[in-house]
Symmetry: C2
Subunit: 328 residues, 2 copies
């Protein structure tokens, strides 16, 4: 970074909250000679007062997962033209309001897709083959005293329903084909050039699947899409894996189904009220939970830091963004 | 099954120990109208006395994993011409002695390969992405109180060394290619028609790999093949996955390396002294253990029962065996 005097002249990038990636990667991974950060969270002013007083001329902001950017925030940012996110999902943003205001968005693009897909497959194998449960059993010393652990079930031949066949869903499908699983999907519309069977209704997909893997974004259309009827269609031998967003599932209903054996198991990276996960699930061996970390590896966080900086530098240089989000 | 009188005329299949699959699947899955079982383990006689008195004319036996069949057993079985195993690995058999006596062997063939490969990949993902450790962390309620769990590491781009590129090793390789891993292998000799780089020396493979996945049989040549030097070559960022046999690794040395951070982690389905697993590993979050269950799913056990019965019926009908083991 340049001298403080030179810094004063740099364009500002608004931060409402401290992005977790700053803590994990180190903020230096996000610094650039072409911009500086304006940190609302370091001010003693209430957030809206800070924005009103200091952010009137801000043209770009960086929004991490927990930083909600809705009309109540955007009203204070008349000059805002770009939001860069550290996330692939954009449910923290009011997308229609951004569109109305002509604000462009650059998200994490494809940086996380492979890691999220890996995690989805890992959770599925773990639930079907009981890996976490076996690990606990062996580590508690029960193998010698109680004998073999109950059998898991086979991946080959399983019918996998992918809900949301975007970049992540497609990578999940490709991986599971290598395990001999068959793939079908639900999406807003059938994807051109994709040969997997398409189901318009998620309930029908559930009825035809041994496992549902949720890979869609969270929108008003997908909120609680996995409801009582879909879970019933999935059935007592069915497994659900969620690496999308907690709100895609009616969580209360899923908890009930898991506790009453109406579905067979679940691998869950996301929850409706993070970081709180439903207490009832903590006792269940057929539920594997991870703390919304499907996107996070050491490698992917360094990749996203490079992408965030690259997008901001491109914006301030009037060059094309590296990963502009296109609403489709 | 026929009447007791008819049964008396059926050829006998010797069982020295009760196969675990009889308990898990139900013995009825293994019964046939073409043979009957002679159960040494139900006799009050000591095993060798039973064999001497009752098994002189036995032509076939069924050997499960824990039933050692060596020269001390075979000396009592002059008419034995076939051993059918419920296992893919044959380390419970004295193969040179079987060969010398002209005893054919039918093993589990390819029945377990997919499930074992799935488990190997599951263990690798689990270690790299810390799934079991995350699951425990969330279930202990630490996510809300302590925040995010330490980052895992990415599968894509990892260099995977497969030790033993037989049916299982090959299926592991195919799956991991779908994750964007690069594959190399060690085997007794280079496999014709395989394009993965071949390393004659396992130590050299270890030095060029981020993870070693052990898929070889246990023989005098492979016992403790993964020794101090190989583990040092794998290095402090290296991971080991063992779905072969515990004896392939110098376990004491591996435990030391894991405890002292000389390798990064391990996914272990097999151990040197099962069902005892090293107590030191039970405290380590970077070690994922399962109780020698990589082969076991509900589906594969039913498949192996069908194969065992099919091999025995073929033998007694003088037809080709379904899965004859060929020493190569």
């Amino acid at each position: 970074m340049g001298s403080p005097a030179a810094d004063e002249d740099l364009p500002q990038v608004l931060l409402i909250r401290n992005p977790p990636a700053f803590t994990i990667d180190g903020e230096e991974q996000f610094t650039s000679a072409k911009f500086r950060f304006l940190k609302a969270f370091e001010s003693t002013l209430p957030p809206h007062d800070f924005l009103a007083a200091r952010a009137q001329s801000v043209r770009a902001m960086l929004a991490s997962g927990g930083a909600v950017v809705d009309a109540s925030v955007l009203q204070f940012l008349p000059e805002l033209r770009l939001i860069v996110t550290t996330t692939a999902g954009l449910n923290q943003l009011d997308l229609p309001e951004c569109r109305r205001r002509g604000i462009r968005i650059a998200n994490a693009g494809d940086v996380y897709s492979a890691d999220v897909a890996d995690c989805a497959v890992g959770l599925l194998i773990d639930v079907l083959r009981k890996i976490s449960a076996c690990n606990r059993y062996v580590k508690q010393g029960f193998w010698a005293s109680k004998g073999d652990y109950p059998l898991g079930s086979k991946l080959r031949g399983k019918r996998i329903g992918i809900v949301g066949l975007g970049r992540i869903g497609y990578q999940v499908a490709k991986r599971l084909e290598a395990f001999g699983c068959s793939i079908a999907y639900n999406s807003r519309k059938a994807k051109p050039g994709v040969s997997y069977p398409f189901y318009q209704e998620v309930q029908e997909l559930a009825a035809k699947s041994d496992a549902l893997i949720l890979c869609c974004g969270l929108t008003e259309q997908t909120r609680h899409m996995i409801n009582k009827e879909v879970l019933a269609a999935l059935g007592k031998d069915g497994v659900i894996v969620n690496i999308a967003r907690g709100g895609v599932i009616d969580e209360k209903e899923m908890v009930r189904c898991l506790m009453e054996g109406e579905i067979a198991g679940a691998g869950l990276d996301v929850f409706e009220n993070e970081p709180d996960a439903p207490k009832e699930l903590m006792e269940l061996d057929n539920v594997v939970m991870s703390p919304h970390c499907a996107v996070f590896t050491r490698e992917s966080l360094l990749d996203v830091a490079r992408l965030v900086v690259g997008n901001l530098e491109a914006f301030f240089s009037n060059e094309p963004l590296l990963s502009e989000y296109e609403d489709d």
